[in-house]
């Protein structure tokens, strides 16, 4: 709009235009003034707008623009110079502010644009985080489900419960339509439908295991989607619905052998079961990958739980079996014990019944011997006597054998004269061999020691048995006995391959061979001979039957002596050789602490007389008392004699070093006396040594004497030498180690 300083008419022709301009300017001014007001109002409301200063500037700019336009209103008419000045000022200010604003905007607009982009970016991020959050929550949920499921499965060891729970929980978690488990049959060529969710007890559905779809599932440990038309997915014969997705996963059936001790279970097992899950057809849920993972995890857990259940079942079965076996064994043991007791009772009774007549025979035969007899009669009586002695021995053997079998027999180890033992054996068989007109020879090797340590009586038994058999079965010719010390090269015999004897400084092995020229034995029968009571056919045809206990007992005794015994024969009619090797101790070099006294002790070890030794002798038999007194006097002792227990207790004092008591005093007086003596002398040093004298020093007697505190037992009849060695040992050791 132009303003001119000339005189103007009031309203020129284009007055309408003027008027419109006037109105527009007015409204523009109005707008110009109201916009900043609005801005200020809203800025005040919002707290976050960062560019206040810009707004102020902007506001100022707008206000001034408005002011300009407003002042313009006055320039339509005549205006004074003041108005012109004001107008000019306003315009100048407006120009300044607008230029400043323009400059500022240049600086500011990019900034606010970038704010926008950042905002967009944050929004995207927030959306993404939301998605992830959703995912995690879902996963956590499924994890919780798995834990719960596992807990349910593992809380029971019953196979059926495990599987049913699995199916139920899985269905609940994954909202399944149907869930089924196919187990392999025993033959392994088919899968049988074992459990389903809806049908409680499915029957009869089987599927061959070699289907490709099944192979596909079995070949991977992941859950696999399968076609709803495959045979394993056709779980309902009448399909009234449209099946949705079907997922199958393998369940390994682990065996105990799959669990190595320090390894993880091997999954290279051949047996799998198949779990089939059917999802509802209208499912809007997408099968997330993690849900399939859930299925796989569950399948593994089920496998482990099943294997635990199987292990438990097996161990329960084994335990039941063991309990049954235990009961059976217990019964068998009790029966065996009863049998043994019955046998022992029988043996004891028979033993006694058999002994009595035998004693009568022996006693009367020996009496018969003393009468007037012709030489033939004498020989016959002697044979009767010898036979009945052997019979008595046999009866003793029966008792011995039962004790041997129980293991309660112990050898009576003592030192004895080996040479004289052999000679006695020869002497004992000479009558029989001379009657049968056989020869009998004995040859002892020169290196056999004269004395040896072992059980003399039992060794004699063995020899007599072996030699007796040889003589018994020989009708012509004779027997020869050879004995020698076994050297290490001859110790190993092919017939006794398990025998490894080792001679040492204190022991040697004696080898005895008894060769006869009799009827021989079939080599096949030889093992039976050592079995008690066994008789083979050929043996039974002999004169008096070869069976019996003899060889069995010999074998046992030989074994007790840590030796071996066996028979060799070239056959029937060719004779027989009995060989045994036993371990004997060498006297003087043995490490045995309890060395019993030898019957002939070298004189320099033993005191010959005991001058001044005070002893007390108690014996109620006058003759016996006098004899023993004489014996003691001979040895230089000072002897006090009493004939009864109370007299003994009255007389005994600590001056007496030894008190000899003859056990034939009736009743139990002697034991009581011993106890009283112990009571009387409290100090061990004061008390006289108490020795029992008895004609019968058997184990029972010894035990009884030792139990009441006696210091030894001596067997009558006592020779001077015996008494001398007894006293010597008593004074040296204070106790008698072995009964004499």
């Amino acid at each position: 709009m132009e303003s001119c300083n000339c005189i103007e008419p009031q309203w020129p022709a284009d007055e309408l235009l003027m008027r419109y301009q006037y109105i527009s300017d007015f409204f523009i001014a109005l707008a110009y003034f109201s916009i900043p007001l609005e801005l200020i109002y809203f800025v005040k409301k919002s707290a976050v707008f960062p560019y206040r200063w810009v707004l102020v500037q902007f506001g100022a700019f707008i206000v001034l623009c408005g002011a300009t336009h407003l002042i313009n209103l006055w320039t339509f008419t005549m205006h004074s110079r003041t108005v012109a000045v004001v107008m000019t000022t306003a315009k100048v200010l407006t120009a300044v502010v607008s230029c400043a604003t323009a400059l500022m905007l240049v600086h500011i607009i990019p900034d606010s644009l970038s704010v926008k982009t950042r905002e967009l970016f944050l929004k995207n991020k927030a959306a993404e985080l939301d998605r992830e959050m959703g995912l995690i929550r879902t996963q956590e949920e499924t994890g919780r489900h798995v834990r719960m499921l596992t807990h349910e499965i593992r809380s029971t060891l019953d196979r059926h419960t495990i599987l049913k729970t699995t199916l139920a929980e899985l269905s609940r978690t994954l909202a399944l339509e149907e869930c089924a488990l196919w187990m392999p049959t025993r033959s392994g060529v088919e899968l049988q439908l074992s459990y389903t969710l809806r049908l409680p007890n499915p029957v009869g559905f089987t599927v061959p295991i070699l289907l490709p779809v099944i192979n596909q599932v079995f070949s991977t440990n992941r859950a696999v989607k399968i076609s709803p038309n495959s045979p394993v997915a056709r779980l309902r014969p009448t399909g009234k619905y449209m099946p949705g997705e079907v997922v199958a996963v393998r369940v390994p059936l682990l065996h105990l052998s799959n669990f190595q001790i320090n390894d993880w279970p091997e999954l290279s097992t051949k047996r799998y079961a198949l779990m089939v899950l059917m999802l509802p057809s209208d499912s809007a849920r997408q099968r997330h990958v993690h849900e399939l993972e859930l299925v796989e995890v569950v399948a593994d857990q089920v496998a482990v739980a099943l294997s635990h259940a199987a292990i438990l079942e097996e161990s329960m079965r084994a335990r039941d079996l063991l309990m049954d076996q235990n009961v059976a064994l217990d019964l068998a043991r009790r029966e065996a014990e009863t049998a043994i007791r019955a046998r022992n009772d029988f043996l004891a009774v028979m033993n006694h019944e058999m002994r009595t007549p035998t004693h009568a025979i022996i006693a009367l035969s020996s009496l018969l011997q003393e009468t007037e007899l012709t030489p033939e009669q004498r020989l016959m009586v002697e044979t009767i006597l010898k036979s009945s002695n052997l019979l008595a021995t046999l009866i003793n053997d029966v008792l011995d054998l039962s004790r041997l079998e129980d293991g309660s027999l112990q050898l009576d180890i003592a030192t004895f004269n080996l040479h004289s033992l052999f000679r006695e054996v020869l002497n004992l068989i000479k009558p029989i061999t001379s009657v049968k007109r056989l020869f009998a020879t004995l040859s002892l090797a020169p290196d056999i020691p004269e004395y040896a340590i072992s059980d003399e009586k039992r060794l004699m038994q063995i020899m007599l048995n072996v030699v007796g058999n040889a003589v018994k079965f020989t009708k012509e010719g004779g027997i020869s006995i050879t004995a020698f010390v076994a050297k290490s090269d001859s110790l190993r015999d092919p017939r006794a391959p398990e025998f490894f004897p080792v001679p040492s400084d204190s022991h040697f092995y004696l080898r005895v061979q008894v060769k006869d020229s009799g009827s021989g034995i079939n080599p096949q029968d030889i093992p039976q001979l050592f079995t008690k009571f066994a008789q083979s056919q050929t043996l039974a045809t002999r004169n008096s039957g070869g069976g019996g206990l003899g060889l069995a007992i010999c074998k046992r005794f030989v074994n007790l002596m840590e030796g071996q015994i066996w028979l060799e024969s070239d056959g029937l009619g060719k004779g027989c050789t009995a060989i045994f090797m036993i371990k004997l101790g060498i006297p003087g070099r043995s490490s045995e602490a309890k060395l019993p006294l030898v019957s002939r002790v070298p004189a320099d070890h033993v005191q010959t007389t005991f001058p001044g030794l005070k002893v007390l002798l108690m014996d109620d038999n006058g003759v016996s008392r006098m004899v023993t007194k004489g014996l003691l006097l001979q040895l230089g002792c000072e002897v006090t004699t009493v004939s009864a227990g109370d007299e003994c207790l009255r007389v005994i004092s600590n001056e007496h070093r030894v008190a000899f008591m003859d056990v034939s005093i009736p009743g139990k007086d002697i034991y009581e006396v011993a106890v009283r003596i112990h009571e009387k002398f409290s100090k061990r040093l004061d008390r006289p040594l108490i020795i029992a004298l008895t004609a019968n020093a058997d184990r029972v007697m010894k035990e009884n004497c030792l139990r009441v505190g006696m210091d030894g037992v001596v067997q009558k009849p006592i020779s001077v030498d015996k008494m001398r060695s007894v006293l010597s040992e008593l004074l040296d050791h204070g106790v008698l180690l072995e009964a004499q």
């Binding site: 009568a360 009496l367 006058g622 003759v623 006098m626 004489g630 001979q634 009736p666 009849p717």
Partner: protein, 151 residues
């Protein structure tokens, strides 16, 4: 001199026969060993004591056997004593009869006991006679100035 030797030989033969026939055993030899200068009559003393004892016991036995009812325990005790005495001096045959007698007592066999008593009497008489004869011979030898030979 010849007389002494002859007497000694006689004595020796006689003694040997006693051993051979079983009247005496090793125990008697032991007894003889106990006799020495300090104890010159030991053997005789013991033997005579044995005679006394045996006679007493045998008469006791006879008495017990004639009683009714028979006290086997008492008999056993007597026989036991006799057995002890006879074994102490080595009268072997008497000892053997005692053993048999004890068995019969254990079985309470009256016939057996009676038989044994008879046997006992016989044996005792026999051994008494023999021993007395032996002692007479010994006295003769000693009287002639010789000494008793030890077997």
């Amino acid at each position: 001199m010849d007389v002494i030797i002859q007497l000694q030989r006689q004595l020796s033969d006689y003694t040997n026969s006693l051993y051979r026939e079983g009247f005496l055993d090793d125990q008697f030899k032991q007894l003889q060993q106990l006799q020495d200068e300090s104890n010159p009559d030991f053997v005789v003393e013991v033997v005579y004591l044995f005679f006394e004892d045996s006679e007493r016991l045998i008469s006791e036995l006879a008495k017990t056997l004639s009683q009714q009812p028979m006290d086997f325990k008492k008999m056993d005790a007597h026989v036991h004593q006799l057995k002890g005495s006879s074994s102490s001096i080595g009268a072997q045959r008497v000892q053997k009869v005692c053993i048999a007698f004890r068995n019969y007592c254990e079985e309470q066999n009256i016939d057996g006991c009676l038989k044994c008593l008879q046997l006992l009497r016989n044996e005792y008489t026999l051994v008494k006679n023999r021993l007395e004869t032996m002692f007479k011979m010994e006295k003769q030898v000693l009287g002639a100035g010789g000494s008793i030979p030890l077997n």
